[in-house]
Amino acid sequence: MLSDANDRMLARAAREIAPGMVVNLGIGLPTKVINHLPADLPVCLHTENGLTGIGPTLPPERADRNLIDAGGAYVSTVPGSAFFDSATSFAMVRSGRLDLTMLGAFEVASNGDLANWKIPGRFSPGVGGGIELAQKARRVVVLTTHTDRKGNPKLKRQCTLPLTARGCVARVFTDLAVIDISDRGFVLVETRDGVTAAEVADATGAPLVLPNATPPTF
């Protein structure tokens, strides 16, 4: 993935976060969205290891040894941050207090199924907090490269890997496009500047509903 395409995807995903939201940014690409949020945006970032109100990531020499995010990065607080235990953290998730979560993916199916935790025989470190985020956040969006390293589509008719949760994904942000998941399957919403709808459709492993007009770009 081109660094520019990466940045554009992250910047576009950041605009998904509306004022007042409580948001969990999953490990990997989603965490980087934080660098694209306006400083004055009223938003509450949640990390499942026990913090609401995540502040900027800190380098080791300025880090607090007791203050990490769920991915192990050293983070900081903002005025009004709160700490809590792991049961309370997931109480927030399961009881619907997360307005939005952004997750990574191995595969997303056109019915919204998500697989992002296990590749049998090759990668099975455990599911962590992913199932509950995927199943219970009010809105689940995915950030992912459009294809894997071999060029195979990550957006598919059906997931082939063990599922994280069924029918949970509402929208996918990739380096090529913004795609919604609807009753009609994948729907193209936006393309990255310079990418055609046909190129997105080619890289997608399931039918892609195209808009009548040329889609907006990001």
């Binding site: 400083a39 509450c44 009004g80 941050s81 809590f84 927030m92 998730v93 399961r94």
Partner: protein, 231 residues
Amino acid sequence: MKLPDKQCSLEGAIARIRDGDTVMIGGFGVPGTPMALIHALVAHGARELTIVKNDANEPGMGVDHLLQSGQISRLITTHLGLNSRAIDMMNAGRITVEFNAQGILAERIRAGGAGVGAVLTDIGIGTELANGKQVVELAGKPHIVETALRADVALIHAAAADRFGNLAFVATARNFNPLMAMAADCVIAEAETLLPLGGLTADAIHTAGVFVDHVTELGTLSKEYDVVRRK
């Protein structure tokens, strides 16, 4: 990023309560009972309410005002011993009362707040509190399915809050407040002191503001919050 501001007026927050709503109210006796929010609810006038509260306070205090005004149709509680009006209304069939074991009421509310459907417990097995409840075998022993409780609105009393809705309680005024503050679609907190963001220590917050929708500062506390001088 900065955290959102949730400060609002007491009346503005209460205005969203509708006839027929389920309303959780914090407090065990006087400590932790949101007396001002209860008065605002009386003024608001919503009726046919299901109230979830540990007790019905004492005559002339707290929940008793809602009993007097006839706004309560159902009360989910643990003990009414200090309010003869509540017992009389129950005996006269003017309110329906559902008694829970105290810790089970706490646990059902917490389950609602934790987004789980129920807890399985052996508490009350062999007593009339088990009557009518689903029973499941767990490791060969019968367990009662105690279902999660959630409310449309929770009314919370905190000693201190910040504008994001982070709350801190004091002494035995904590009781059911942090549990109910997790278990309602709309959580309204009255605070004796409202602080700017950062005014509460992050490690000493009892209820994270994520759970709270509206927070309002009390002015001078009414006498209802005072020490009760019983005969």
